[in-house]
């Protein structure tokens, strides 16, 4: 794609995002807000899983930490703009602390460590009632005001979430195109070669994990004022698996994968609701079929299809023997 159509496409996407809530009911706007928030969380996991190749099952736990910090601070009278960076930095810091010993193990072993961490966070949120409200959760969490712009109603909240989403997406685009992003990819493709080229693989993996956790912290900071109520049950392992599903269905390792995956996971059940009792079955069957035929998710499937239609370079047959010599 040449530069100008590419920028035209970006502008079209931005216009679509700005126009999306107009004329819609509160429910659709709420679902769109959920999509933006889960896209941010999935973006973070995509960095850990898709770029650095590490399986984390604690994304919902980090989201929970971000949400509780934001809720406690905003309910105590601090502005969201102060609570949000605190939530992100806390998640980043906890990601570093957890990642340092945990990343001694990798892949499915890391998945087990993060799974245990998710359970631990759930138990702390539930049992430390003096701080977190325990099973009763925290309610009512205020929605922020910005210089007279109130996000109390659904459409203004959508634009607030959209700004957060665009900033997060911009930061992610910068990260994956920076030397760090290339280092993350090198790590995923061949860690031994990356190490031999002078990359500190341990540090890079740790950073990918901590940055991914920071994105979850931001998603949590957005989630708390959206729902205006949080309780430990909203940040359990099943929610981490849901975010993992978003990354995998969209296409892990692709920049746009998490956005598409979050859209599928959040919006598809809504689109299938007309099937009444069958919608969860159809939804599950769709995910199964997709994973069987395209493990790289929807973007991987799209690339496969495009490769079929694209003109391909054919190897010269008279050079075949020569190449074997």
């Amino acid at each position: 794609m040449t530069a100008s159509p590419k920028y035209l496409l970006y502008i079209a996407m931005l216009v679509a995002l700005v126009l999306a809530p107009l004329g819609q009911g509160n429910y659709i706007v709420y679902v769109l807000c959920s999509w933006l928030i889960f896209s941010v969380a999935a973006m973070g996991l995509n960095l850990t899983l898709g770029y650095a190749g590490q399986v984390s099952l604690a994304q919902a736990a980090f989201m929970g930490i971000g949400a509780y910090i934001t809720a406690l601070m905003t309910m105590a009278g601090y502005h969201w703009l102060l609570a949000m960076p605190f939530a992100i930095l806390s998640c980043f810091g906890i990601g570093l602390i957890l990642g340092y010993p945990a990343l001694r193990v990798q892949h499915h072993f890391l998945a087990f460590v993060t799974l245990a961490f998710n359970t631990l966070v759930f138990l702390v949120l539930r049992n430390e009632e003096w701080l977190t409200g325990g099973s009763f959760g925290l309610v009512p969490i205020p929605r922020p005001d910005f210089f007279g712009f109130s996000t109390f109603k659904q459409v203004p909240f959508y634009y607030f979430a959209l700004v957060c989403f665009l900033l997060a997406a911009g930061a992610m685009a910068w990260i994956v195109r920076s030397p760090w992003g290339r280092a993350f990819k090198a790590l995923r493709e061949n860690p031994i070669r990356a190490n031999s080229l002078g990359l500190n693989t341990r540090l890079m993996t740790l950073l990918a994990f901590a940055i991914g956790s920071g994105f979850a912290g931001l998603a949590g900071a957005m989630m708390a004022p959206l729902v205006q109520f949080i309780e430990p049950g909203s940040f359990t392992l099943i929610h981490s698996l849901k975010i993992l599903l978003m990354v995998v269905v969209g296409g892990s390792g692709f920049y746009y994968g998490p956005f598409l995956g979050a859209a599928i996971v959040v919006l598809l059940p809504e689109l299938l609701r007309f099937t009444e009792g069958y919608y969860l079955i159809i939804y599950a069957a769709f995910v199964l079929v997709l994973m069987v035929f395209s493990p790289n998710g929807l973007i991987g499937l799209w690339q496969k299809l495009m490769d079929r239609f694209r003109t391909q370079q054919v190897e010269r047959s008279d050079l075949k023997d020569g190449a074997q010599l």
């Binding site: 679902v31 539930r126 099973s135 909203s234 969860l280």
Partner: protein, 376 residues
């Protein structure tokens, strides 16, 4: 010519559809139709469906037929909030549901922000303690029911030491806190305090902890599936002590799931399909004939909620949500004049309900009423 015919047909179709919609009252039921709460939510929903079908057969509300729309909360509080928002967007007049307290505590905020009266099946004490003027119970909260079982344990069974097995959720924690007060008031010592997880499947360790605690009885405060699993495990380990509960433990759903293991369990219930009240027996028979299973308290809650919407709207005389909520506060409906409520019932200023209730025991796979307790 063809265009004219099509245009005329289109106009006719539009006017017909608007005429139909003008004759219907849209009511939403947001319930746990899937997920961990489906055992309770689907029964509640069937009760709501039957209630509104009978309301429609009796001429509807203010002469308009009710169009009931179901929404599945998937037993997820955040999803229940989204579904309530959707129901409001789609123009519901009144909101029915949810049953799980952890969902109701979230979605009642949205209903309140939109001035939407809501009939819930939740029994957690916190629901009516929020000062929300739009929430109305269909069965009383645990804080009203538990003192009755507390005095029964202390005075009739002479229990002085008890084990408490409770669900560590919004629902369970509310009941647990209420029971602690009741135990203290009745001089009952808690010798084993056992919190459990939602959707827990193995109760072997919990039952053996109860057995070795020196308790003279055990109080079980779990949701439907977990209650049944606890009873099965208690039966398997031969736990020899009275098994007491509040509403859920002795509900028909739990009896169906636990089978013979439920025999001997007793508890206090706000509503029972086996209550010695002819109206309840008739409704239960119709329910069983229609859905193929015996109703429990959740079905009756949904049914009563549906009829209450009709009665109160007709008192108000128009579809006015504010006036509806105002009328509900301090309202009493007697079953002789308003047969759909099945038993005399009152709502206070917080939306809490007051009604007679029952002590029941499970005998041969069914509830047997041992005592009828007056409204408190």
């Amino acid at each position: 010519m063809l265009r004219k015919i099509l245009l005329a047909a289109g106009v006719a179709a539009l006017s017909m559809s608007s005429a139909v919609s003008a004759q219907t009252v849209r009511i939403a039921d947001v319930a746990e139709l899937s997920g961990a709460g489906a055992a309770a939510g689907s029964v509640w929903h069937d009760g709501v469906v039957m209630g509104y079908d009978e309301v429609n057969a009796a001429g509807g509300i203010l002469g308009q037929q009710v169009e009931l729309q179901a929404y599945d909360s998937q037993t997820d509080p955040q999803n229940s909030r989204a579904m309530v928002q959707k129901a409001i967007d789609e123009g519901t007049y009144i909101l029915m549901g949810t049953v799980y307290s952890s969902s109701t505590i979230v979605n009642m905020l949205v209903a309140q922000q939109n001035g939407m009266p809501q009939f819930t099946g939740s029994e957690s004490p916190t629901i009516t303690a929020q000062g929300n003027p739009y929430i109305f119970r269909t069965a009383f909260g645990a804080q009203k029911g538990l003192p009755k079982i507390g005095s029964y344990l202390a005075d009739d069974l002479d229990v002085s030491k008890i084990a408490v097995v409770w669900a560590n959720t919004e629902f369970g924690k509310g009941g647990y806190n209420a029971f602690l007060n009741v135990a203290e008031a009745n001089g009952i010592e808690i010798v084993a305090d056992i919190p459990t997880e939602q959707a827990q499947v193995d109760f072997a360790a919990d039952v053996s902890q109860v057995a070795s605690s020196g308790a003279e009885a055990v109080f079980v405060y779990l949701t439907e599936e977990e209650s049944a699993r606890f009873l099965l495990e208690a039966d398997k380990q031969g736990l020899d002590m009275p098994l007491a509960g509040d509403t859920v433990l002795v509900s028909q759903k739990v009896i169906d799931l636990a089978g013979e293991a439920a025999n001997g369990a007793f508890g206090h219930v706000g509503l029972s399909a086996n209550a010695p009240i002819p109206a309840i027996a008739e409704v239960s028979a119709r329910f069983e004939a229609r859905f193929g299973y015996a109703p429990d308290h959740n079905a009756l809650k949904g049914y009563i909620g549906a009829w209450t919407v009709k009665y109160v709207t007709e008192m108000v005389g128009e579809l006015d949500r504010e006036a509806f909520a105002e009328t509900m506060h301090g309202l009493c409906l007697d079953a002789a004049t308003y047969p759909g409520v099945l038993m005399d019932v009152c709502w206070d200023e917080s939306g809490e309900i007051s009604r007679a209730s029952f002590l029941v025991e499970v005998v041969d796979g069914g509830q047997v009423i041992t005592r009828t307790l007056p409204a408190n």
